[in-house]
Each structure stands twice: as C-alpha cells, then as structure tokens.
Symmetry: C2
Subunit: 322 residues, 2 copies
C-alpha cells in the first residue's frame, strides 16, 4: 500500500509556522540548545499531531495563531518525551536520524529534554486557555506514568486490558489531546468537543496498533529496528496477544498466556510464528475498527474541506509504510 | 549565630497542607511513584519557598486554597529540578538523606523527575491564573537554561556578571516567582507585585550567596560536601571572585582572573587562602546588602503580622547554619 499524505497539503503553511516556532524556542538561550533543537526538528516525522490540531481547529473556526501555538506546544511535548525515552533506551537512531543522546552526554540530554518540556509548557500557557493548559499538564502526567508503568511493570505479560492502557498512555492520549484541545480553543460546544476527543482517541489507538504491527511486519529499513524487537524486550503487543489467544496448542503461546519469559531462541521462533500466522491480519483489522469508530465520530461534524482532510489523515494512519 | 525559623510558625498549618498535597500527587499512579514522592518529601528542607509564597499571599489577602496550590506547585518544580540535578551530578545524599538516584536506576529517576514536573504544571494550572502559569513555565525555562549554561560553560572563569546571572537562574528566579506569583493571585496592584518580585529576587540572590559562602566556611557535617567543592569543580563563586579581585599578588588569584584551571594541590591551597582571607566577610556583606534591599522593597507594603514574618524569613536566609 502507498501512504497518502494529501492531508498535509491544506495545512502546509501552518506546519511551516509550527517548525519556525519550534526553532525559535532556543533563541536567547545557550547556543547548544539551538543546535539541539535543529537536530530534533530535522529528525521530525510527518508532524501528524500538529496536522491533527490545525485541521481540527480550522474546521471549527479557531484563530490560526492560537492553533499554531497549540500545535507547536503539542509537538514539543511529544519531542521532549522522545528525548528522554531515547536516552533511557539508549537508542542511537530515530527515523534514521541520530538521536540527541547519541551525540550528547546523558546530563545534557536530560536537561535538553527538560528545556523542551519548559518551552512546551510556555507555548501552551500562551494559548491563555485554562482548560487547554490543564488538559496539557494532565496528558504529560498520563504519558510519563505510562512510561514508568512500562519500565517497572512485569515483562512477558499477555494482558489485553493492560495493553490498551499502555497504548493509550503512550500514544492515544496525545492524539486525543491534539484534537480535543483544538476543539476547546475553538469554543466548540460540548458534544463537538467530545466527538473530536473521541476521534483523536480512536485514531491514536490505531496509530499505536499499526506501530506494533510494523514491529513484526514492517520494512526493517523503514522501522529501523530488528523484527520483533518489542517481544524481545518482553513487551507483549497486539499481534502476540492475538496469537496467544488463538494458538492454544503452541507451547510458546502457552508461555505468553502464563506470563513466562522465553529464551532468545524460543522468542525468535515465536516471532516467526506470529509473523506467519493470521495475528497480523487480525491486529490490522482491530486498527481499522478503531479508525472506523473515529471516523463515525468525526462525521457527526458538518462536512468541510478540513473534515475531508481529517478523514484522509485517519486513513493514512492505517495505510502508512505497510 | 543561631538560625531563627519563627517565620514558619504562622504558616505551619498551610505547610502541612502543602506536604499533604505533594504526597497525594502520586495517588492513582504507579505505586513506586508514591514511594519516590515519600522519599522526596522526607528529604525536604525548611520549605522556605512555600513559606514565602504563603506569607506573601496571606499578607495580600489571597484565598488560602489557591496559595496552597501555588506553593505546592513551586515546591514540586524545585523538587523536580533537584531530582534531575542529583542524577546528573551523581550525588548520593542531599540534606543528609539518600537521593532518588542513589536508590533507583537512571531511567526511573529521569521519569520520576518528569512526573514531578508534570504534577507541578498541573497544580500551577489549577490556580487558573494565566499570568501565574506563564510565569511558572518561564521560570522553569530560566532554571533549566541556567543548568545547561553551567554544564556546558567554561570552567574556572572568574566573571562577576556571569556569577550573578548563574545565581539568578539557579536560585533567585524561583524565589522571585514564589513571591511574585503570590502577589499576582492576590490581584495586587502593579507596584505591589513589583515590590514583592523585588523582595523575592533580592532574598533569593542572598540565599545563593550564603550557600556559596557555606561551601567555604560552613560546617562540613551540615553542608554535606567537602570544603571548596564548587571551586574543585571549576565553579567560581563570590568568595573566590572577591579573593581574585583583592589579592593581586597571589599567583593563584591571578590564575582565577585569567580563567586558568589549577591542579588539585593548588586548588586546595587557594581554598585555604580564600577561607583565611576577608573574602568570606566581604561576601557575607554582599548577601546582607541583598537582604537589606529586599527588606526596603517589602517595607513599602503596610505592616502586618505576615510582613513581620517575611522580614524574619529574609533575616533567616543570612543567619542559617553559619
């Protein structure tokens, strides 16, 4: 499948403004912070969260300058969490680009992450919307708590409910906030805010499920990690969960169900079995179902060019790099 | 001299509420976060920043519940920066208590700091005062940038202006915010806000100068670090600056003026010379001058029991552990 990124076109100008605002956040501070910010910006992906925020806000008539502030705050919050994540995981590459910790000392990387958090908080405050600022700090709490749960939680645990909580904290919470905060600064009515919160939530869940599928079935060059790296770290994602539930006679699936960790050889065999099974297709079906629920929620809003772009964005999420 | 902490008495109840609110910030999140929060609270000092906030706000008639929110946000912001600082410096003790990083893995310590930042931001948002929230995120930026400047900046540099910038970023900025934010949520007029900002700034500068004096002249058991540890790390503080300016024939003072680093033996000799010189007394005189300027600003506010307590707080800053 070829990914379509046509949803970016109508917000290209705003996304350029987001990158310019990200870049300017280090102005007047230590010159190395500017270099760090450049590195982080150049490693940036499709800016899907800012696109979600800006399309939602434009659809609902929010002022563009406030949307750019909000979208930049969200992308910086996301960036700051990645800076600390990559440091903690010791990752040297992200999206094929060197991570900050691959070049900087740990202490400087911790502080740069903190600086990016501080700038995210500053831009969120500049929206002058107390509900948006509250939502923003709550989302940071959810994301960080999720990372702590994943770090300190039990390994090799196949638990569907726990999986959904994890992907909500890791990914869907910020997608939800990207859409909901845009609706809030548009002064949309309560049901519109709720419909967009739901849209953001559902496509965020789908986004992480796709990431988890790509960990098994993605192009290694694009994903940039060995196949099955989650399971090798003891992280049981949807394909493994579905495989465990549907292969009752496989002793390794049995081990997953019982929360027993396997050795490297067994893990490799299990990863191959999951990849060859229909667990990938069934996981994909679950991601599609999330997007469909999201679109159902979105389509309660009157049609507009921005709504169509948001539909494209939702579909892109399950079509990318697959 | 014996330190007087009588300024704590009129805000004891509020400070207990601050600690209870700090403690509750981990409720509903990963249980280890609660344990971390307990450790951080039990290692807490005199809560001088929350006392400053609460006394200022009570003096100006702010609602107590908002003051407790604000004071807790400020203490959590301070705590979060200490968590990351101790990790970066590899410090195992703070105020005689084990640091978080002495017990936890680096990754968990980074994330716990992030969690405490998130909770600080959440409580600041709950004051619902946009100017306070903006000030708060700006202060975090100043503190973190200051840490980066100190980490990446040149060592062994004797520069008075740079010293004042450093102690502002490190300490005075948060004292300034503790007093100014309390004035802002009290809806005080502009000149009152400015007088209290100035009071917070001046006593914050004095606080850090005293810390820097104690690094040379403090009781080692109380300070918990070897004498002259700043200079051993290449950090030139006020006593060394004054010594360099007033001992033109000492070759080591000359090295300081030229920004040349010395070897361990030379540093030890220099530290002894600084301690034996009148640089300590002259530094102390500078701290006293800051407090006097702060008190002059404070005394533009009408007298009240809280104002007297703030005067005691200001005097405590230059009388503690000396």
């Amino acid at each position: 499948m070829t990914a379509t990124v046509s949803f970016i076109v109508p917000v290209q100008e705003e996304l350029r403004a987001v990158e310019a605002l990200m870049r300017s956040q280090a102005d007047g501070y230590h010159p190395d912070l500017r270099a760090a910010m450049e590195l982080l910006i150049s490693a940036g992906g499709k800016r899907i969260r800012p696109a979600l925020t800006i399309l939602t806000g434009k659809m609902l008539g929010a002022p563009i300058n406030e949307l750019v502030l909000l979208a930049t705050a969200i992308e910086l919050l996301h960036t700051a969490t990645l800076v600390h994540d990559d440091l903690i995981d010791g990752s040297l590459l992200r999206r094929g680009m060197p991570t900050l910790n691959s070049r900087w000392a740990p202490g400087a990387t911790v502080l740069t992450g903190d600086f990016v958090f501080a700038r995210a908080a500053k831009l969120a405050a500049e929206t002058e919307s107390v509900p948006v600022i509250k939502l923003f700090s709550h989302t940071l709490t959810v994301i960080v708590n999720g990372e702590i749960v994943q770090m300190l939680g039990s390994r090799c645990q196949a638990d569907h409910e726990n999986y959904l909580e994890r992907i909500y904290a890791k990914t869907a919470s910020l997608f939800e906030t990207s859409a909901k905060a845009a609706a809030l600064i548009s002064n949309a009515d309560e049901s519109t805010v709720e419909n967009l919160r739901c849209f953001g939530h559902e496509i965020g869940m789908a986004f992480q499920i796709l990431d988890d599928i790509l960990d098994y079935a993605g192009n290694q060059n694009t994903v940039g990690k060995p196949i099955g790296s989650d399971l090798r770290q003891g992280i049981v994602t949807l394909p493994a969960l579905i495989y465990a539930d549907t292969h009752l006679n496989d002793p390794y699936a049995q081990a997953l169900r019982e929360g027993r960790c396997l050795n490297d050889e067994e893990i490799t065999y299990l990863i191959d079995s999951i990849y060859a099974s229909d667990a990938i297709r069934l996981s994909y079906r679950e991601a599609v179902a999330y997007v469909e629920r999201g679109l159902k929620s979105l389509r309660k809003i009157a049609p507009s060019p921005e709504r169509y772009s948001l539909e494209e964005l939702a579909n892109y999420i399950i079509e990318r790099e697959f």
